[in-house]
């Protein structure tokens, strides 16, 4: 497949294709910047190519190389179900490239982010403002020569003194006072309303500037970035496993999926496979998180519509899910459970039974809420035909996940690019057709049921193996074993089995080996090996010492998982050291928020609330 694409492109744009190759099964084309618009247009419109979704657009800074920057486009074709990465080298002296925002609506925001982070200008972009950083910020933070420790005052005294505080937002490109239109001979002045950043329905922090004609929304400008925590910059400064706590804070309602997504990307870069049991554990934990996420989304939406009771019911169900997560990971939100090459620890004993009990509770609550809402006339009136996004718009804004499926497009990463044994599990993807809030609600409700089925199947298919420890006079508690090891009494230690809780990191060899890939480059050895053999100890140190650790070969990889909101992609560039050169996260709800202004145009003020609830904006992942 990639070969055909390369061939066609080389025939058509022979002068502009600098390079075309595949790496880790990713098709990559390096093109000249002058042809980027034509190539993108061709790729989007050509009947054989049909790359209709711009999944991601990111910048990379190769400081010291000429040309210094690179803009990376990740395209996806629904028709052929394949991805293509286009890389465009950009000169430092003239960091400029043609915009593609006329081809894909989402490119508008993506390009603003690249401008914000790297200072690359996009020629022809309608509105090239900063997006994640504030307007007064100086410099471009993701450039390699911007020190991570550098601090800037939020707003300087100088700024507050001599600025006339002109609104940076220009709605319909007019000054605010001229907002007069004539309707039926009456002169109408539109009202402006700042919804957010501090507003009860704007959970997370987000600002919407509304231009209102009575209760009707004429236009809306969405401002984000209030929760920007430099996730990408941080990830470049720390070793690979150290990024996991940061990924917890992306989508903090379903952090396990972020963990899994990041781990799988690094594993793709390293070209390693995890053990079967580990794959199923990752599936189970992901699906539990997905249920928690959907429960939160629907519950919060119902609450904002005034149906507080449905919200509390769902919070109870979510509590059941959080308890399950807590039993495995020891935490509820900041779980940091997954590791490159495995997971932190195996599932606790009799976990399957516990999950069965909790899923029963969740199903009961879902049934309850079905009764409360699904055919409730007021609820249906409030959500049906509200926040409609057509199929074309959804694709152009590169929506993914429940929102894309509500608009009638069958795309789910778990089906299209199965990872972690999702292909061995039998489940269905619900598809909507109207693209309104009601369809999104129904899809999320059904997906929770499907997730329950996935969890049950995963438990059935998961290899069991020797989980129970042999108690024949051999075992010593893990901490005692560690003490012995430290004092050099290592005789026969390798053959002994420690009695510990299976959820304790690195202890208990049988558990450990079940969930860690047998790969010395990434997996910490079990404590028995560390304290019992010189190979284990060396392996341990090689992974722990600064400057060593996990060192993927020079290269790059894009990998996506189906987050609760849609395609959660990671694009990682490795320069061969133990720290990533670039970690780019493609947050699913970035696209939703980019399309939100369009979604509510012409709607009523009251419709903003269910529409916003249905896109499930999670500020942690939106602003990174």
């Amino acid at each position: 497949m990639p070969r055909n694409i390369f061939k066609t492109l080389q025939q058509k744009f022979s002068d502009f294709i600098l390079e075309a190759y595949t790496y880790r099964d990713d098709a990559i084309v390096v093109v000249d910047r002058n042809a980027i618009y034509d190539i993108c247009k061709f790729l989007r419109d050509d009947s054989r190519m049909k790359f209709d979704l711009l999944m991601d657009l990111a910048g990379v800074d190769y400081l010291g190389r000429d040309p210094r920057f690179e803009v990376v486009y990740t395209l996806y074709s629904l028709k052929n179900n394949n991805r293509l990465r286009i890389k465009v080298p950009i000169d430092e002296r003239n960091p400029q490239i043609q915009t593609v925002s006329t081809l894909w609506k989402i490119a508008d925001w993506y390009e603003r982010e690249v401008w914000d982070m790297y200072g690359i200008r996009f020629k022809g972009h309608p509105d090239l403002r900063r997006i994640l950083m504030y307007d007064e910020f100086k410099g471009h933070p993701l450039r390699k020569d911007y020190p991570i420790t550098k601090r800037q005052p939020l707003i300087t005294a100088e700024y507050t003194n001599n600025s006339t505080i002109t609104p940076t937002v220009e709605l319909s490109n007019k000054a605010m006072d001229e907002y007069v239109s004539e309707e039926d001979g009456l002169k109408v002045k539109h009202m402006f309303l700042n919804m957010g950043p501090s507003h009860p329905a704007m959970h997370g922090v987000i600002k919407i500037i509304l231009e209102l004609d009575g209760e009707r929304v004429v236009s809306a400008d969405v401002g984000i970035g209030y929760l920007h925590r430099s996730f990408e910059k941080h990830s470049e400064s720390i070793y690979y496993n150290g990024v996991f706590p940061y990924t917890d804070r992306l989508n903090y309602v379903s952090p396990l999926i972020n963990n899994v997504g990041y781990a799988l990307t690094v594993e793709k870069l390293l070209d390693i496979e995890v053990t079967e049991r580990c794959k199923y554990i990752r599936i189970i934990m992901s699906e539990i998180s997905r249920i928690a996420d959907h429960l939160t989304c629907i519950g919060a939406m119902a609450m904002e519509l005034g149906a507080m009771t449905a919200f509390i019911y769902f919070m109870q169900a979510r509590e059941a899910m959080y308890q399950l997560i807590e039993e495995v990971t020891g935490a509820r939100i900041t779980i940091s459970y997954v590791r490159v090459g495995g997971v932190k620890a195996d599932l606790p004993e009799r976990y399957e039974k516990r999950v069965g009990e909790q899923l029963k509770k969740v199903r009961a609550e879902i049934k309850q809420v079905h009764k409360l809402l699904t055919r409730n006339r007021i609820f249906v009136d409030r959500v049906q035909g509200v926040g409609v996004v057509s199929k074309e718009d959804a694709i152009s804004f590169s929506f993914t996940g429940p929102l894309l499926r509500a608009s009638g497009v069958d795309y789910d990463v778990r089906k299209q690019f199965p990872y972690s044994n999702y292909d061995k599990i039998d489940f269905e993807i619900p598809i909507g057709k109207n693209g309104d809030v009601y369809d999104r609600y129904l899809i999320r409700m059904e997906e929770m049921e499907q997730s329950c089925l996935i969890i049950e199947q995963a438990f059935e298919k998961m290899p069991k193996g020797a989980i129970m420890v042999d108690f024949e006079g051999q075992e010593i508690p893990a901490e005692k074993m560690a003490d012995l090891g430290k004092f050099g009494q290592t005789k026969n230690l390798l053959h002994q089995v420690a009695v510990t809780d299976p959820t304790l990191l690195g202890s208990n060899k049988p558990y450990h080996d079940m969930v860690y890939a047998p790969d010395k480059r990434v997996s910490l050895p079990s404590k028995e090996k560390t304290y019992g053999s010189i190979e284990g100890l060396m392996n341990h140190f090689m992974l722990i010492m600064d400057g060593y650790g996990i060192r993927p070969p020079r290269g790059e990889a894009y990998f996506a998982v189906e987050g609760a909101n849609g395609e959660l992609g990671f694009y990682i560039v490795s320069d061969g050291t133990d720290k990533a050169h670039r970690v780019r996260c493609r947050p699913p709800c970035f696209a939703f928020v980019a399309g939100f202004g369009k979604m509510i145009e012409g709607a009523q003020v009251a419709d903003i609330v269910p529409a916003f609830g249905s896109i499930n904006m999670i500020a942690g992942e939106l602003d990174r």
Binding site: L305, A307, T309, I312, Y313, I378, Q604
Partner: protein, 360 residues
């Protein structure tokens, strides 16, 4: 003369205590009932000397909090209107109770005391006039805050309350045609009779459609879920957005007082007010012939108790509705009012008129 004033003051004290206590207690009921419905514990932290009394002290704690909080006024606000807004609101909610009869006649020392604060012969009209004024408190407060969110809330409130005002009047015309009076005490007395000798002639049986419509419109008038678009806490935060301290407290109290008010009017118009089935002025007269003589004071006590119980039932019903349903959108409320409730009420009047004429 002095005696007369004393009696009026006593009645006034009773009504005010009744209403304000119910209003205050509703803050507790709302928390506790929502907690029950949502499998929570609810408010139970406030305590006096370690006694918690299932959270009842929260009512007091709330009042203390409201009074001691800073009453903040935005710089741009219209000073005078901003200050009197909540007062207007709560005033008109309270004065409506003047005409609600809470019992028949109590005889003390040969003196007949009408258990109604103000026996007005235009009782129903007075009620509607007062209910119509309530919107001013909301709109003035909202406008005077000089806040766009509050303004939206005020606009919604005025549109909603004025529209439903019309419906409110029309829905009970059917009942008034049957009762042939607009004095509330008389209306209640009329409902004391029986149908076919055994069925109490309560308004709800005579006018079932009117009853349901009136209750709906009543809830809409009190601006509570599902008709709380003027407040819309997750959309526009509400017309009282800029209020804090007791200003906000008075708006909240208005909400609760109006809830009590709606219950009281519904009970008076449709559930026989203070009537207890088969209870006459001198005791029970059961349809199967048995009688049970009672003293006048006992009858009065039973009547007041009956009225209170019925009001409590409707409070419970309104709370249940409030915690079950989501919120309407503003235009949906308008559509419901003008396109459904008003025409159905008109048809109801027509049919009632036909039946009355035919039965004559």
């Amino acid at each position: 003369m002095v005696e007369g004033i004393g009696i009026v003051l006593l009645k006034l004290a009773f009504v005010l205590l009744f209403v304000l206590n119910f209003g205050g207690l509703l803050t507790w009921v709302e928390r506790k009932q929502s907690a029950l419905m949502q499998d929570r514990i609810g408010a139970n932290r406030a305590s006096i000397f370690g006694i918690r009394l299932i959270g009842l002290f929260h009512t007091i704690a709330d009042a203390v909090k409201m009074f001691t909080k800073e009453s903040f006024r935005p710089v741009a606000a219209e000073k005078f209107l901003f200050t009197i807004g909540p007062g207007i609101s709560v005033f008109f909610a309270l004065v409506g109770f003047a005409v609600i009869p809470f019992g028949d006649v109590l005889i003390i020392g040969g003196k007949e005391i009408n258990l109604q604060l103000a026996p007005l012969n235009i009782g129903v009209l007075y009620l509607f006039a007062v209910a119509g004024m309530a919107v001013y408190g909301v709109v003035l407060g909202a406008w005077a805050s000089k806040n766009n969110f509050a303004l939206l809330g005020g606009l919604r409130a005025s549109a909603q309350m004025i529209s439903y005002e019309v419906a409110l009047g029309v829905t009970i015309i059917g009942s008034l045609m049957i009762y042939q009076t607009v004095e509330l005490q008389e209306i209640v007395r009329w409902q004391g009779g029986t149908l076919w000798g055994w069925l109490p002639k309560w308004g709800v049986l005579m006018q079932p459609v009117g009853f349901i419509l009136f209750l709906t419109v009543g809830i809409a008038q009190s601006k509570r879920v599902p008709f709380d678009a003027p407040e819309g806490e997750s959309e526009i935060i509400g017309y009282f957005l800029e209020y804090s301290g007791m200003g906000f407290g008075m708006y909240m109290l208005t909400d609760f007082v109006e809830t009590v008010m709606i219950s009281a009017i519904t009970v008076t118009l449709f559930l026989g007010g203070w009537q207890v089935p088969y209870l006459m002025a001198d005791g029970f007269h059961f349809p199967w012939g048995a009688t049970w003589q009672l003293e006048n004071w006992a009858v009065a006590l039973l009547q007041v108790g009956s009225f209170t119980l019925k009001v409590m039932f409707f409070l419970w019903l309104q709370m249940t509705i409030r915690w079950t349903l989501p919120r309407f959108r503003y235009d949906q409320i308008m559509r419901l009012g003008w396109k459904y409730i008003l025409p159905i009420s008109l048809v109801n009047i027509l049919i009632t008129g036909l039946i009355i004429t035919l039965l004559k």
